[in-house]
Structure formats: structure tokens, C-alpha cells
């Protein structure tokens, strides 16, 4: 069975686009999104960009130790966010997906709580910044080892297939991730099982400093889908609507039992790999500038403006509103205060075994003896 609304060919040479660089609609079908949805999409693009800026500022102030900017990836991430059914489908994101988790509605206070490892972090400050996760929204908590979330994502998708309720999983990662054995193991298993999962590569052509041609001989990522018997789509990741529509279709296919797909979104990261990186060591300034000229925010704004849905006033109002939200959320996250030191002994197992109780007790004794509060 082929989904009614299947609109896109896999394995195209050129990326699928819905808008051209000037923001004009070029797709061979009509826009079926409401004005409100379109505006919300734009809001999410800007939200992602502004969170990035805020986090970078917090990091420079020493309030957080690490940032992995998502600027340049917002089109891809917002496209994904609008294509999933939040709370029904499952998401297995990676560390650069800040815009994605914000766009699906993860409360900003939690987001900042995670970044600051304050008590506002639902994960109790256990991981470094840029590792979101939500039980309520079915967002599998991000893990640092690249591609290690891919086999678990496939396991969840196989469970969904067994359950037979039409739920799907979306699993994202970078181009570098596709070289890991865990990535291959997972994607191949999904292909063999026909599991309802969409793999999304946010291909920014660099894994820290290693460029795509040192990463793989294949030239691109979508083509790798052939190795697993699934369709591979190449999409212009700077075009939020292209990302959205392709995702909507492949998710619908997966829901109907047509199996997994791999979607490559061609993006670029505008910043360094992370707050610990200096990208000028390996990226030509001209290359960065060329991609900046293709900013996903600007392109979509041009489309909205052309449709009479946006102007300078709306822009200003939006940015003010978001800034207010960010002020509030980051202040609340900070105000929650730091984690209690002894919580580090919790959550190793469902119940604390005797040896951990002993270790905690001894830790207390030392702190008491040293005059620190226990």
C-alpha cells in the first residue's frame, strides 16, 4: 500500500525543495498549512535561534559549561517537530537538537534547567548541557556517545510495530554518526524488520573538523539507505517546508506499515562545533558566509512576507516576546538552585543496593569530618 499523499521521489540528485532561495513556492503541490501553523513554524525557527544566542551568553558568563549551537539547523529541526505527533510518536534526538525539543513544546524552564544542571532539570543534573529528554513527550534522553541512541530507537520502533497502533519513531543524528558501527547495526535491523522509524541525518558536512569526504566515500547520506532496503530522501535542510513535507510523508508511510526511511537534510552549522571548538582552524570563512546567505529563517520569512503573513512589526513583537520567555525561563531555572550533592548516589538501580548505601554513608562521614554539611 502506497500512501495517498506520497509526493516525493527517493534518491534524487538534487535536494527536495518547496521554497526557492528567494522564498517563492516552487513545489508541484499547494500549501495546505493554515496561516497560524505557518506563523508558528516561523516562531519556532526564531525561538531556536534565540535560545542559541542565550545559551552562548550563559556559557560566556560561566553559568553553563557547554553549548552545541543549533543555528543553521533550525529549518530541519522545526520541519521534523511539526511532522511528528508529539506525545504519541517517539523521538530519539541528538545533542544539536535544541531547536527540535523546544519546538515540540518541551518547557523552556526545563530546557534551561538541563543546561544549568539546576533542580529544574528533570534529569537531576546527571548529564552535561545539550542532553534533553522528556518522559511526557516521549523524548529519549540524549546521550553523548555518537549514534549510540540508534539501536535503542530501533528497538522502540519494533515495539511500536508489535503494538500495531501506528505509532512511529523519529531518530536524528549528524553526518559523522553514520560512520559508527552502532548506527549501521540499528538502521540495518530496522530495514530487516520493516520497523516504523524515520532516520534523519542533519548533514552539515562536518563532524567537528572532519569533512564529509573524509567521513565516507559515498558523497552523501541518503544513498546509504540502499544498503538497508529503504528509501533515502535528500532534502534542502535550509527549507523548513521541504523538511516538513518530506517528514510528513515518510512518517505517514511508516504509520501505515510501509517501513522505515532515511532522510538526509542538507544543513550547515553556523557556529563552531561547540563552545569548546574553534572552527576557523578547519572551515574556510567563505564557505561559512555562503551558507549564512542561505539562512533558513530568512528564506521562510521571505515566504511569509510574500504571503502577507509577516512584516517588521510582527518580527519585532515576536523577538520581544521570545526574549521575555527566555528571561523568565532561564531565571526560573537558575533560581531552582543546584542539585543536592548526595543525589549522585540515586538512580543507579531501582533500589539502592547495600554497597551504594555504604559508599554514601562513608561520603557523609568524610564531609562531616571535613566540616562540610552532610
Amino acid at each position: 500500500m502506497i500512501a495517498d499523499f506520497e509526493r516525493f521521489e527517493p534518491f534524487t540528485a538534487d535536494p527536495v525543495a518547496v521554497l526557492d532561495e528567494a522564498g517563492a513556492w516552487v513545489a508541484p503541490f499547494e500549501c495546505d498549512l493554515s496561516d497560524a501553523t505557518l506563523r508558528t513554524m516561523y516562531r519556532h525557527l526564531v525561538l531556536g535561534r534565540l535560545i542559541d544566542e542565550r545559551l552562548t551568553r550563559l556559557q560566556r558568563l560561566g553559568k553553563t559549561s557547554f553549548v552545541a549551537p543549533s543555528a543553521g539547523h533550525e529549518g530541519a529541526q522545526v520541519g521534523i517537530a511539526h511532522a511528528v505527533e508529539v506525545g504519541r510518536d517517539w523521538l530519539f534526538p541528538y545533542y544539536r537538537d535544541t531547536t527540535l525539543v523546544a519546538a515540540i513544546g518541551w518547557p523552556l524552564e526545563k530546557l534551561f534547567g538541563q543546561m544549568l544542571a539546576s533542580k529544574a532539570d528533570p534529569a537531576r543534573g546527571r548529564q552535561m548541557p545539550a542532553h534533553p529528554g522528556s518522559r511526557a513527550l516521549n523524548v529519549f534522553t540524549v546521550a553523548s556517545p555518537i549514534a549510540s541512541h540508534v539501536p535503542p530507537a530501533v528497538g522502540t520502533a519494533i515495539s511500536q510495530k508489535i503494538a500495531g497502533r501506528g505509532d512511529v519513531t523519529v531518530c536524528t543524528f549528524g553526518d559523522g554518526a553514520t560512520s559508527e558501527g552502532d548506527w549501521h547495526a540499528g538502521v540495518n535491523f530496522a530495514g530487516a524488520q520493516g520497523a516504523p522509524i524515520v532516520f534523519v541525518c542533519e548533514n552539515n558536512r562536518y563532524a567537528i573538523s572532519v569533512d564529509l569526504n573524509h567521513q565516507t566515500g559515498s558523497g552523501g547520506i541518503a544513498t546509504k539507505a540502499r544498503a538497508y532496503g529503504m528509501p533515502g530522501y535528500l532534502v534542502d535542510g535550509m527549507d523548513v517546508l521541504a523538511c516538513y513535507y518530506v517528514m510528513r510523508d515518510v512518517i505517514a508511510n511508516a504509520r501505515e506499515g510501509l517501513g522505515p526511511a532515511l532522510v538526509e537534510m542538507a544543513v550547515y552549522r553556523y557556529g563552531p562545533h561547540s563552545s569548546a571548538d574553534d572552527d576557523s582552524r578547519y572551515r574556510p570563512a567563505a564557505e561559512v558566509a555562503a551558507w549564512r546567505a542561505r539562512d533558513p529563517l530568512a528564506r521562510f520569512r521571505r515566504y511569509l512576507e510574500g504571503s502577507g503573513l509577516w512584516d517588521d512589526d510582527s518580527e519585532e513583537a515576536l523577538r520581544e516576546a521570545i526574549k521575555g520567555e527566555l528571561d523568565e525561563a532561564s531565571a526560573a531555572a537558575e533560581a531552582a538552585g543546584p542539585q543536592d550533592v548526595e543525589t549522585m548516589f540515586d538512580d543507579v538501580f531501582a533500589e539502592m543496593p547495600p554497597h551504594l548505601e555504604q559508599q554514601r554513608e562513608r561520603f557523609r562521614q568524610v564531609r562531616r569530618a571535613a566540616g562540610e554539611e552532610a
Partner: protein, 325 residues
């Protein structure tokens, strides 16, 4: 009670638990039609079909990783890695994901799953079908590790592992798979507690501590000692994490002499931990040094398949040293 071999017990326990709880699924290489290369999953595929008994691709990362995702989504997966020597391609999934999920997510997610693996030597399988990898798991916070030595223990502990809330590495001594038959409790609720060792024999002259496959040689040694009039206390640890510190310290303190047996390589072995803990906690109760009898710090050789093992001779030699001390 039913008379069963070790490996039959595994298959029957899986069958019973799958009947009882439809969230239980089994996955691994050849677990389906083939019933597992050791027949530990025999009959399951015919009974429960391909949705619940899943033949996987040849990838331990896929097996362990998928089990994690299934557990997260509410299933109760029992994954099989065909030989514990082949856990390493899936090691990242086990130590970076399964072991840490509860902790790193602050309890939002967890991975209640069982990873079954035949382990140990003495089957002429050469290096890559003979290793005892338990140290790696015991040293990884977030994993429970169990290594039962008898069919009945295997039954009670597999059930406990399957009904638990945490990832359990369940090691099965493959050279005992068909070596003995015994009456196995058929009470469908028969379970053995987490972290508790058992006393296989009691005596006042020396404490022997072992687990898994080496229990066979340890019991042989104890029997030989009894013939010489030396009464050994024999502890079968069963759980390697958490291990039963209370019982070990109590018995060793009482007797003052202890020999620890494990067939894994010697350096940083599980019994190194136990010996270190004994020395740290009850030094003054020791009449002799805690002595370890272990596998050698070499890869597991094929030609010397039996000589590598800590056999009864080696155990008896150490006991003699401890008694003469």
C-alpha cells in the same frame, strides 16, 4: 518438581514467563526456528511466533540496543548473545546505554531487560568461545550480574532477573548446560532474591568461595578435602553484583581461612574485589592470606582447554597453603 538439565531449565523458564507476561519478548541470533545454538530457546518460536521470538541480524549492538529501546517502550526483552565472547561488538550499547539509562535520565527512563549469555571454558571452543567476561560488567555501575551454577538456581534467578526493574547480565556456564540433571522447583512463583549468595556446604576449616562454572571444581575440591578430614564451607556467590558481602564476611570471619575461585583471568578479577574487601573489613579475623585460584592472565588457549581452568588440583594446593599457614 521436574528433572531437567540446565539448558532445558532456561528454555522452560522462558516459556513459562512468556506465557505469564505478554510483554516478554526474546531476541537474538538463531533464537527462532533453530531454538538457539544450544537450544536454550527451543520451542518458543513455535509457541509465540516471530513477533515475540525475534531472529536478529548478526549484530550484538543491534540485539542489545534494540532490547533497550523495547524495554523503554514497555516490553520485557530477554536478549541472547550467542557466546559471551561476542558481547564486545555490543559493549557500547551495554555499558553506555543500558547501564546508564536510569541514572543519566534522572530516572525518566530505564531498561529492565535480561541479557543472557553462555560463558566459560572447558568446551574445546578456543579463545572466543570460552571467556568469562564478568569483571567488565561488575565494574560497570548500573548492571546487575548473575552467574548461576545449577538448574534450580538458574530457574529462580532467571525469573527474578526477568521480573526486575534493572538490566541484568545473566551468565550461563555452558560446560554445565548438559552436565547434570536435577529436580527443579516447578512453583511458578519460585524466585531467588537479588544479591544473595548460598552456602553449598558448611565446614569450619576453610571457606571456599566461587560461582558459575567453577562451582563444579570447587565442590569437587571440597569433597576431596572432606575425604582428608578437612571440612570446607562452600559459598556459591550466584550474584556478582550486588554480591553478598554480609554472608561472605560472616563466614570468612568465623573460619579465618579463605580460598577464592574464578576461571576468569586473575588480574582485577571479581574475586580480587572480594579478597580486597575481606582484607579491608576483617583483617584481624584472618588466620591466613585470602588466596585466589583463577584463570591465567593469558587469552584462553585452545590446546590447553582444561589446563587453563582452575581445576580441583589447583584449588587443593591453595587450600593446603592456607591451612599450613
Amino acid at each position: 518438581m521436574a528433572v531437567q538439565t540446565y539448558v532445558q531449565t532456561i528454555a522452560r523458564t522462558l516459556m513459562e514467563e512468556m506465557r505469564r507476561d505478554e510483554r516478554v519478548v526474546v531476541l537474538g541470533q538463531d533464537v527462532g526456528k533453530r531454538g538457539g545454538v544450544f537450544l536454550a530457546t527451543e520451542g518458543l518460536f513455535d509457541t509465540f511466533g516471530p513477533d515475540r521470538v525475534i531472529d536478529t541480524p548478526l549484530s550484538e549492538a543491534a540485539i542489545i540496543g534494540a532490547a533497550i529501546g523495547m524495554a523503554v517502550h514497555g516490553l520485557r526483552p530477554v536478549a541472547e548473545v550467542q557466546f559471551s565472547d561476542y558481547v564486545y561488538p555490543g559493549f557500547d550499547q551495554l555499558v553506555s546505554q543500558a547501564a546508564k539509562l536510569r541514572y543519566r535520565s534522572g530516572g525518566l527512563f530505564s531498561a529492565p531487560m535480561v541479557l543472557r549469555m553462555p560463558a566459560g571454558g572447558g568446551v574445546k571452543g578456543g579463545h572466543h568461545h570460552s571467556q568469562n567476561p564478568e569483571t567488565h560488567f561488575v565494574h560497570t555501575p548500573g548492571l546487575q550480574v548473575v552467574y548461576p551454577s545449577t538448574p534450580s538456581d538458574a530457574k529462580g534467578l532467571l525469573r527474578t532477573a526477568m521480573r526486575g526493574e534493572d538490566p541484568v547480565v545473566f551468565l550461563e556456564p555452558k560446560r554445565l548446560y548438559r552436565a547434570v540433571k536435577e529436580d527443579v522447583p516447578d512453583d511458578p512463583e519460585f524466585m531467588l532474591p537479588v544479591g544473595k549468595a548460598t552456602l553449598r556446604r558448611s565446614g569450619d576449616d576453610v571457606v571456599l568461595i566461587s560461582y558459575g562454572a567453577s562451582m563444579a571444581e570447587t565442590m569437587q575440591a571440597a569433597a576431596a578435602l572432606a575425604e582428608q578430614g578437612v571440612q570446607a564451607d562452600v559459598i556459591d556467590l550466584r550474584w556478582l553484583l550486588p554480591w553478598d558481602e554480609a554472608l561472605v564476611l560472616e563466614r570468612v570471619a568465623r573460619v579465618g581461612r579463605v580460598v577464592l575461585v574464578s576461571e576468569a583471568p586473575r588480574t582485577a578479577n571479581v574475586v580480587s574485589e572480594i579478597a580486597a574487601t575481606i582484607a579491608e573489613e576483617i583483617l584481624d579475623m584472618l588466620e591466613a592470606p585470602p588466596m585466589r585460584v583463577t584463570g591465567f592472565d593469558t587469552p584462553y588457549p585452545y590446546a590447553q582447554d582444561r589446563a587453563y581452568l582452575p581445576g580441583a588440583n589447583r584449588i587443593l594446593y591453595a587450600v593446603q597453603q592456607v591451612l599450613d599457614y
